[in-house]
Symmetry: C2
Subunit: 552 residues, 2 copies
């Protein structure tokens, strides 16, 4: 995409200046060593997981209910003794056990003989589900676009009883369905115990909200904390069921929420180092990385996530005062600015068409969203935030052009994207009006405060305005409302949207939520959606950062 | 069924005679200790399994072929490199790997990434089959009578590559089918290696047959040895796929074959001790026992198997000269005679109706077989063999009544069951003519040699004669032919029956074989049949015990 001359030059200059004759070779070697060092630091900060043994709280019956989320609700149907004190066979196949909360980790089931002698192996299927309908929808034939293997059903064969079996795969769930697939009719067996080793890297209990906080906000905060807690493993995962990995966008939002709740700064640091350590040779970041078998990147050029790395780093340094990490990683942040420089046209508009051909420009799971205005906005936002970072690190001189660069883009945006008559920002040749465009024009400062208020107030009345597709975009919408001083609207929007998930039974917040379509899935099959998703945790950040809005 | 006074008395007398005042309490304690001692000895003789790493020899394509066994044949379709050097996906799902021989143990599969990054778990199904049709017949919905879990299909979810996965379950098979159930379309993975840790307690290579042995007999011997080798694990198993446990009937035939081939006398001794150690409180034996989690019996009152324990013990002592074991276990053998005494009527006929109400009288997997004559025959046979055992141990005085008892039953049998006009033995009120009745009347000595020859020669001409249902009964038929001096007929019968299995592709001999019905199953579903079954191994015994018949 763009060269890596500058970063290589920087490193070569720093480390290899005494051996100018071999600079060229050395530069490559040193850059490898540089990234190696970042990865080493990422490993140093790897948290020890906190493991807790959890027990199911009871049995539930899944009932069809058109008014319930996705048409199914869990109804309490007895204590665990009912299961533990009876034989398990074809008749009670499909029983569902409820752990009462979303958990991530490893399930262990103990089976024993109850009558006569086991004279043949037995076969069970264990299906782990985050939401009721996930357990009640047949997985096969699988219609989804992602791997079928994300779905959490595991078949086990047991040859000797008593047996205590731990499913090797890590699962994320609240409900466990147990299907009988076969056993000998000459004997009876039973389930003697089910336990779960739940893991998280959260170690602290966040402070309580003020006593004046409304119950609904308390609920949203609680569910948001659970969501974040579940996603905080040895990295910030996007979702513990799926994708179970470190994405820049999720990390940005998780670390914001963490700054105001669990304060696991080492985890943020680890993730920032790991992402930097797995940058491409040209210094540009990959959008997501894997921890195992060893840390490695998925080659993913996602433009907006590269920018958000800078913002996440700035927020980390600002929250912790850890300048050393900021300075270590500054070369990476500076490098991402190349993207802005490459696609900025002489008139101050970003060349969205070209960027969109060469990158994945994401912003939201929303078909049809025009991303010209969001891209213009996030670029300005990133330039501003990176300059803030430079100031925190005393590096303004290295990016002295940023304020003027940002202003140029801002002026162009206002000139080209603001429709004075409607008071709304438009995007693309069809002048699309969307929540995303307004949000990013506001967060970038393109809109003045009065313009921002006017736009956001006008939005609900625009029938064809493109709404957010997922909680991720909703975050930026809430942030824009707050930035515009529309405190009551911000609070109400949060209550409507995240409170809406709670009304529908959410234990953790979902990857995708459309109040009008319970079955929405970017992957063609709703059970493969993640129902505990990092980017949905940010009410925690808003509620705790702005107590004057949310805690009274 | 009957009391255990005599055996208790024996033990109490031996061990507790110095403390007569507590004889009653002591008797029970001592009997427990007695069995405990037998179980302890069984553990002492537990063999260390010989483990060998095996590799598949190639890929096969399963082809429909009406002339092939069960309608399917395996056709060579390339070397393993073909699999190892290509990506595995939906297109090559269902590929079948051939190990070239029947193996028992644990399968390990190694998977690796071939292109791009694994960004989702993958899901495979591994199905292990002893015969081709087993892999090509859908298992579900499962129509069989035994546990569905006997079928050897295991589903695995793999979350990180490279991965080396050992299926926890022990399997018995020749062919492995690998089905693709799901993976991400963003990357490619492949199977890098498949290996198998094969186990047996066989440690020696049996002597070669004489050079003059015909190829078909050599083949039968080879397949018989493979069958026996596979069934010889830490006990004599009936079948390594199913039931994987120690049955008296199978042990009897396996130990006969072992005496003439692998000479693993310790294994026979272990099994005899284990069966004795797991007798009922009344001293009567259970037909089968399990090794795990600790040795324990399946409560199974199978009349003919109790009798055959005595015969197996006698054969063991005769073959090894190990009188000590014979003396140790003599009380158990003597105890089984109670069954004969209980059901023998004053006229010398066994009360088959009563015995059949109170016991499982087995003899063969053959619907409609009348078991009056077989029961009469096996009882006499057992009385004779037990008296032989007594003579080997110097215990004739303890069972001095046996010769007269046997003669009484023999005379009654000849009088009531021999049809002089046809020269055939009949069974039951419908005077059924069966191979089983002739065999047992001959092995018991009821038939004189001329009568035996006449009966066996007449049999093939009797259109409604009930034929053997399984190789187990065929063993006794071959033994009867040999006992009658019909050597050529014995050889031809073996060639027709066991050679028939080889012609149909047998790598090991089957639990059930009906030359006219490939799909015969006692369990309602042929894939759950065992295709490597101990009781089918006895050609090894016949061929090697009678070289003058089979090896020229």
């Amino acid at each position: 995409m763009s060269s890596f001359k500058s970063i290589h030059y920087f490193i070569a200059l720093t480390i290899c200046s005494v051996a100018v004759s071999i600079t060229q070779v050395c530069a490559q070697d040193v850059y490898a060593a540089y990234r190696k060092d970042w990865l080493k630091k990422a490993e140093e900060f790897k948290p020890v997981l906190q493991e807790t043994i959890k027990k199911p709280i009871g049995i539930v019956r899944m009932e069809k209910d058109a008014s319930a989320f996705q048409g199914w609700k869990a109804v309490s149907a007895g204590g665990m003794d009912q299961l533990y004190n009876s034989s398990f066979n074809k008749k009670n196949s499909g029983i569902v056990v409820d752990f009462g909360e979303h958990l991530t980790g490893y399930c262990t089931i103990t089976l024993k003989t109850r009558r006569s002698d086991m004279d043949a192996p037995l076969r069970l299927k264990l299906t782990f589900g985050e939401v009721p309908a996930e357990l009640m929808t047949p997985f096969d034939p699988y219609p989804g676009g992602l791997s079928r293997a994300w779905l959490q059903d595991e078949t086990i064969t047991v040859t000797v009883l008593p047996a205590t079996i731990t499913i090797p795969r890590r699962v994320a769930f609240r409900y466990l369905k147990i299907d009988w697939l076969g056993s000998s009719s000459n004997f009876e067996f039973g389930i003697a115990d089910i336990s779960f080793k739940a893991s998280t890297s959260v170690t602290v209990t966040p402070s309580a909200l003020s006593a004046s906080t409304s119950p609904v906000i308390k609920d949203i905060d609680r569910v948001g904390l659970n969501t974040l807690k579940e996603c905080m493993q040895t990295v910030y995962e996007d979702g513990p069921k799926r994708d179970r990995r470190l994405w820049i966008g999720d990390t940005y939002l998780e670390s914001l929420a963490n700054n105001y709740s669990f304060h696991n700064d080492k985890l943020t640091k680890r993730c920032l180092y790991m992402l930097a350590g797995l940058a491409n040779d040209d210094g540009l970041l990959n959008a997501d990385v894997f921890e195992y078998p060893e840390p490695h990147a998925q080659k993913t050029d996602l433009l907006d996530y590269c920018f958000l790395y800078n913002v996440a780093l700035k927020e980390y340094v600002a929250a912790t005062g850890d300048k050393q990490t900021g300075l270590d990683l500054w070369p990476v942040a500076k490098k991402q600015l190349d993207i802005a420089r490459k696609y900025a046209l002489p008139d101050g508009m970003m060349d969205y068409e070209k960027a969109n051909r060469e990158w994945w420009v994401f912003f939201d799971w929303k078909d049809g969203l025009d991303k010209q205005a969001p891209l213009q906005g996030i670029t300005i936002f990133t330039l501003n935030q990176t300059y803030e970072l430079a100031k925190l690190l005393g590096k303004e001189s290295e990016v002295a052009d940023l304020p003027a660069f940002a202003k140029k883009l801002k002026d162009a945006a206002h000139k080209n994207l603001y429709d004075k008559s409607s008071g709304l920002f438009v995007s693309g040749k069809d002048k699309q009006i969307s929540y995303g465009s307004q949000a990013w024009m506001i967060l970038s400062g393109v809109a003045s405060k009065p313009e921002a208020q006017r736009a956001l107030k006008a939005l609900p009345g625009v029938s064809n305005a493109v709404k957010p597709g997922a909680p991720y975009m909703y975050h930026y919408y809430i942030a824009a409302l707050i930035a515009s001083g529309l405190d009551a609207e911000a609070k109400q929007a949060m209550i409507d949207y995240w409170g809406g998930m709670i009304k529908k039974g959410a234990d953790t917040f979902w990857e995708v939520y459309d109040p009008n379509d319970d079955f929405k899935s970017p992957y063609g099959f709703f059970p493969v959606n993640s129902y505990c998703h990092a980017w949905s945790c940010t009410p925690v950040y808003f509620i705790r950062k702005y107590p004057e809005i949310f805690q009274r």
